[in-house]
């Protein structure tokens, strides 16, 4: 394919013919000093906070600090090319990013520039990066489920559309894995996903993109990357940019899932900016408004009212703790902002419990209302039972003789823990989840050895799909019936019990 020069020349000629000379009125300032992603500018008398400014060479900045004699600007681009004495002009607009279908399936930077080599982002629509979150009258309470496909999460800390559920844990405890599984599970649900990678190694992000691509999830996902090598200003605005892209779909009545991976790095970038701007440091040297930095971001995840189309943004912010320290500044802030947290523990992770979720302190404050009814009936007491089991297990290690009832509870607990383990990138359908969790909590696994549980699960699910699709369909159609899987005489409950008994008869235990 070749470009024809004549045709391009004719377009340019037309443009020149129509060109009208206008006097360009602009407000300017002069760069006093520049470095580390920020600049101090003299002039720009009428610039507003958060307004976009343009440096020589087209580099964009944001007015961040308005001081008596200078303006602090954060530079969103290559600050090495800016010199002292350069002219800076205010643009009179707020920072905006391209939105719409053009960004879906792409890997982009926080300003909307493509990073995946798939050509320019052809979008005619943009949205401001920083907007005020919808108010009280524009919202409704969370009531639809956002299935993550993970048994442990969907059963114990269910997430609703419009909820903010924090994923928190030490490094290497599978935080990103949970978020990726949640994205993979949105296939065929029409939920648009946004993965915002902040301050991560580019190799990790490349890995995530590859996984998404291999599992066909990139088709409905946008990856917004500001890696470890990008200047702090871009890392700081990345989550806001990702949210702006999601909001476009939310206001159209669609549903979105945004993963911020991770907000502790964003807080560090914001601290860097604030300290360079000489804002006073507070606890752990973070600026005083680091709480607002996160709260105004996460407030934008919400469920819109019916009148506004009922769209939603569900967010899964990720926070990395150091040595399990949840009482550090940023973790406590984000815990208090979000509607619950999934707490991942290294000791569970290394003992093979994956996802390594600690059932005792993981909660979902609003998701219960959104949980599928049948799942709620099946898994209602699961979280507390499991937390009690952990206590009992610790007690049992003292070596005392246990009565039969305690032993039975322990055995049930071991099996439930085994049952909630799940391989990576294998999200499970909600009906499948209901079936296996019911099997565990109703005692159908009490006779199965612990080491056989996962094999039992695989074979059972295969058996259901191959031979008993009718029962599966029955649960699927009755899953929102409040009595299903609760009353023993309900048709669904009966069918499932028969199914489990039938399968257990043919299941061969390993010797």
């Amino acid at each position: 394919m070749k470009f024809s020069a004549d045709e391009i020349a004719s377009v340019i000629q037309k443009e020149i013919e129509q060109y009208e000379s206008q006097i360009d009125v602009r407000e300017v300032g002069t760069v006093l000093e520049v470095g580390d992603g920020i600049a101090r500018v003299h002039g720009l008398t009428n610039v507003a906070s958060g307004e976009m400014v343009e440096f020589a060479g087209g580099i964009i900045g944001l007015a961040f600090n308005l001081e008596e004699y200078s303006v602090g600007v954060i530079i969103l681009g290559d600050y090495v090319k800016i010199a002292e004495g350069d002219e800076v002009r205010s643009l009179g607009t707020l920072l905006s990013v391209p939105v719409g279908d053009a960004v879906v399936g792409r890997v982009i930077d926080p300003l909307g520039n493509p990073l995946d080599g798939k050509g320019p982002i052809n979008s005619s629509e943009t949205r401001p990066v920083e907007v005020i979150a919808p108010g009280v009258a524009e919202r409704q309470s969370v009531h639809e489920p956002m299935q993550t496909g993970l048994k442990a999460v969907d059963a114990m800390t269910p997430i609703g559309r419009g909820q903010r559920e924090l994923i928190i844990g030490d490094r290497k405890t599978g935080k990103t894995a949970i978020a990726i599984d949640a994205i993979l599970n949105q296939k065929e649900t029409g939920v648009k996903c946004f993965y915002v990678a902040i301050g991560q190694k580019d190799s990790s992000v490349a890995g995530v993109v590859k996984i998404l691509e291999q599992n066909g999830a990139l088709a409905y996902t946008t990856v917004i990357v500001s890696g470890a090598s990008t200047p702090a200003p871009l890392q700081y605005i990345a989550p806001y940019a990702g949210t702006a892209m999601a909001e476009h779909f939310m206001w159209q009545g669609q549903h979105c899932l945004v993963v911020y991976d991770d907000l502790s790095k964003q807080a560090v970038a914001y601290r860097e900016l604030s300290l360079l701007m000489r804002r006073p440091p507070g606890r752990e040297a973070y600026p005083g408004d680091v709480f607002y930095c996160h709260s105004r971001l996460l407030e934008r995840s919400c469920k819109l009212s019916k009148a506004l189309g009922g769209g939603s943004i569900t967010s899964l912010p990720i926070i990395e703790t150091l040595e399990g320290e949840v009482s550090a500044y940023i973790p406590t802030n984000v815990i208090s902002i979000t509607d619950g947290q999934i707490y991942l523990q290294p000791d569970l992770f290394f003992s093979g419990v994956r996802p390594a979720m600690n059932a005792g302190i993981s909660v979902s404050r609003v998701g219960g209302a959104a949980q599928v009814k049948a799942m709620k009936n099946v898994a209602g007491g699961l979280r507390l039972d499991l937390a009690a089991f952990r206590e009992l297990e610790a007690f049992a290690q003292l070596g005392t003789d246990l009565d039969a009832m305690t032993q039975a509870r322990l055995d049930r607990g071991y099996r439930m823990v085994e049952l909630l383990k799940q391989s990576q990138y294998k999200p499970l359908n909600e009906v499948d989840q209901i079936l296996v969790i019911y099997a565990g909590s109703a005692g159908f696994l009490d006779k199965i050895p612990v080491i056989d549980i996962r094999r039992w699960e695989d074979e059972f699910l295969r058996f259901v799909h191959d031979h008993k699709q009718n029962v599966w369909d029955l649960i699927s159609s009755n899953k929102n019936d409040g009595a299903a899987m609760k009353k023993p005489d309900h048709e669904t409950t009966k069918a499932v019990r028969d199914l489990l008994s039938e399968f257990n008869l043919q299941f061969r235990k390993s010797t």
Binding site: E15, R26, A83
Partner: protein, 207 residues
């Protein structure tokens, strides 16, 4: 190496802050004695002279030279052509170790004085030298637009190619040929870009 722009304003913001305070008191002295214009002229010319004589400036700013010696030097340097008010002002400035703020004081005093009189300072930048007629004409036109009297200074910058740029405070009215060409270029590029995006087939030919 690229040329770095020269600043006409005081660029050290802490000096600027101090300069404003001294400028305000200088103007107050002038208003009391009725010699504002002469004081402004003196501070401006001293600032210009000092800028051209770095050794003098270094001497005046040096902490190793005692104030008495500096005071003697001021008397000798300013001599009879300076008013006693102004000589005293420079001595105060020196005693407080603020001689380095002199350019800032000069700039701030000019700006404050303009503000008080309801005038604004403006710069007309052109590629070719302009005559007095042209300057006056521009000045009246500007005064009409801004609703204020204008102190128009002219400045030469061949790099703008043609047309003119007027700078009032931080606002720039850019009618230069350089800017027109740049805008025309980016508009043409953008248009071509957009049309290629809209219909690839029109521009592309097989092989």
């Amino acid at each position: 190496m690229e040329k770095v722009a020269e600043h006409s304003t005081a660029m050290d913001t802490s000096q600027q802050r101090v300069g404003e305070i001294y400028a305000r008191s200088l103007l107050a002295i002038g208003q009391k004695s009725g010699h504002v214009d002469s004081l402004l002229e003196q501070v401006q010319s001293l600032a210009e002279v000092v800028a051209k004589l770095p050794p003098f400036r270094a001497l005046m700013e040096s902490p190793r030279v005692s104030f008495e010696e500096k005071a003697k030097l001021i008397d000798k340097a300013l001599g009879p052509q300076s008013t006693p008010d102004f000589t005293n002002f420079v001595k105060v400035l020196t005693r407080k170790n603020r001689f380095d703020c002199l350019p800032a004081v000069s700039a701030a005093a000019q700006k404050l004085h303009n503000e008080i009189r309801g005038r604004v300072g403006a710069t007309l930048i052109t590629a070719e030298p302009v005559d007095a007629d042209m300057l006056r004409h521009t000045s009246t036109q500007l005064a009409k637009t801004l609703g204020k009297e204008v102190d128009l200074k002219s400045q030469l910058d061949p790099s703008i190619l043609g047309g003119s740029i007027v700078r009032v405070g931080d606002t720039v009215y850019d009618g230069s040929a350089k800017n027109q060409l740049r805008r025309a270029r980016s508009a043409a590029v953008q248009r071509a870009h957009q049309e290629i995006r809209d219909s690839m087939n029109r521009f592309a030919t097989e092989n």
